[in-house]
Symmetry: C2
Subunit: 385 residues, 2 copies
């Protein structure tokens, strides 16, 4: 709904609620200036269950001191009162400008209306209400069978800028009817975040508000999952990962100013950590990203970024491919006008895979990013105005 927190004519407040308390888990930013709602969620999640999540867009409630934390508590209190739940059962998330205080009055006016209008098909409304510089709402859903019971996982997310590993200005809310213990849900959520949101980067900037929350009601009727490594745990993990990877890719596609979707796939690395470092260094290189925007198949910039990643490599054993076109191997470019023409054709596409084989082992890692365009600069040069 539109509460009037900062935006004039669009929804900016959403409520996700379970019929009764659900098992709950969360993954949060590692930024040292974690926002007030993040501090509140960490505190409330100690219970391992929650009834509802109140989310606002427009103001991040970050760097707001004790007053900001008090505001987050009051937001939780308003929902708790309306739903007849303990205040600790309410989670809060915020996104938007850093440093401003949340106008509690408009929240207080709107929360009862949100509660009154709760319905089971409101996911798209939630996805729209949490947008900031996002241009499209982001949703994903999967269904699976767990011992003869049909279970569903549905998620919504917002992203757009300040997106980097260790979460992003990323709010993600996942709900499922699966029966699962709080510990297992926390473990599964952390693993799925590692395989999805921790692999995407738009600008290398990690926000103060990154929040991934999951609620699981148990209404599916399956035998409760208490071990993430059990068969049911693995089936649920695959579904959860599918939803989060889908949302993560949607976020990259809708990155601020993005015109292309890029997978940076490292193979042949000595170990996974080396592969990760090289992948993220390439994915965050402004020179690589502007070359992608300019559709200039400038492989030299990719190689130069790989070479400064802090990972030892033997140039003679490295090979670089744009999609399936090998442009560099044995320490020098693959010669010929056809190669240049093929590489240029690849760069005109909307989806490009940069594949770098380090020739040093069997480990790999994929990072996902977008190009760096005029519009990224435009959006971010005047975000607050």
């Amino acid at each position: 709904m539109h509460a009037g927190i900062r935006y004039r004519e669009r929804p900016d407040l959403a409520l996700i609620a379970a019929d009764s308390e659900a098992v709950a888990a969360g993954v949060f930013t590692r930024n040292q200036f974690a926002a007030a709602p993040v501090l509140l969620c960490r505190e409330h999640l100690k219970r391992g269950q929650a009834r509802a999540i109140l989310v606002n867009a427009g103001i991040a409630n970050a760097c707001t001191g004790e007053e900001g934390l008090q505001a987050a508590r009051e937001m939780a209190g308003m929902v708790a009162q309306g739903l007849g739940a303990p205040r600790e059962a309410i989670l809060v998330a915020s996104t938007g400008v850093i440093g401003a205080q949340i106008p509690l009055l408009v929240i207080e006016t709107t929360v009862p209306k949100l509660i009154e209008n709760l319905r089971s098909d409101g996911w798209e409304d939630v996805a729209r209400a949490i947008m900031t510089t996002d241009t499209v709402p982001k949703q994903a859903s999967v269904q699976m069978a767990l011992g003869g019971h049909l279970a569903t996982i549905t998620g919504v997310a917002k992203g757009a800028g300040m997106i980097a590993p260790d979460m992003a200005t990323l709010l993600v809310f996942v709900a499922s009817d699966v029966a699962v213990s709080a510990d297992a849900l926390q473990e599964l959520l952390r693993d799925a975040a590692e395989a999805s949101f921790n692999r995407i980067t738009i600008d290398g900037d990690t926000s103060t508000n990154d929040t991934l929350l999951a609620l699981a009601s148990g209404r599916a009727g399956n035998a409760p999952i208490t071990d993430a490594a059990s068969e049911a745990g693995r089936v649920f993990a695959a579904g959860l990962q599918a939803v989060l990877v889908d949302l993560a890719k949607q976020i990259v596609r809708d990155g601020e100013g993005a015109t292309k979707f890029i997978e940076v796939r490292i193979v042949g690395a000595a170990d996974a950590e080396s592969a990760r470092q090289v992948a993220l260094t390439i994915a965050n290189s402004p020179l690589v990203k502007t070359a992608l925007f300019g559709e200039d198949a400038n492989w030299g910039r990719v190689v130069a970024a790989a070479g400064r990643a802090g990972v030892a490599m033997d140039p003679a054993r490295v090979a670089l491919f744009f999609d399936d076109v090998c442009v560099f191997r044995e320490g020098k470019p693959v010669a010929g006008p056809e190669v240049e023409a093929e590489a240029s054709r690849v760069f005109k596409g909307k989806e490009i895979t940069i594949r770098l084989d380090l020739g040093a082992g069997d480990a790999g890692y994929s990072a996902y990013t977008c190009d760096l365009s005029y519009d990224y600069v435009k959006i971010n040069a005047s975000y607050r105005s």
Copy 2:
């Protein structure tokens, strides 16, 4: 002189020569794909002395395999022959596009003309010949007294893009008439690079060709400096650092698309390494840099970047200043429309100091950077075309 390596109507080849062999030292990129001329210089500098430096712009001779290394050797050979010096006495540096081979024929034709036209007042011509996307030539010079002898240090540099700590796409050549041992010169050069070029960043990208070379002829007649820590060593160190810091700042001012010069000054850090990490994380943040371009005093982005630098900090003890205007302290923004107005005024300036006090100790570090503008994207989206 214009050799025709890649550019049509501008000088692209320069020769710096001493009358006889001079003491020589160098500092180079740590990129794993170090370019052929870098490999050659590392080899030739083992002698601790050199006669001349041949530099070309337009082609970097990086990622060019054995053929590229052979080309660098031949370039050195051409100069050696012309000057009557051993080939190992000639250093070579290149800047420009990665992956292309150097056209040796045009070099061979031009080198004799360069030798014929050597003169003592050609510094500005050298500074112009080594430019790539630079818009102005960069020179600096100081004089000092060393035990009654006047000594001079003069340097030229090129930069513009792919500039990051651990050197940059940076070519810097320094000449002095000071008498100094090779070991002392190497130590002094490394220290001065740490205080200058290793503190600047334009886009976080470290190049394959970064090269800082120094020649010292001994013609000043001072008692040779053999100990960097001696009194004369310290006087020379101060002069050398002054020249390199001056050149480093010129490079930032002329960063690709730069409209502002920014010092990110960290104070009150627990240790120097923490201060450095925080300074460079802020200086490389695209969100901070686009806010600077947009003249939006968005302190939240500075705080958020500091918070993701991997350094533990207590938000309640951190204070942030734009020039002398305190915008954030005790975990929240300093309130009031006057503060916002003053901060906005600071952001309209061409030189801005972002000062962050971590409140954790006595260590500090300054990094230098520029803003991120439309022109950065424009220049880099079409660099090869």
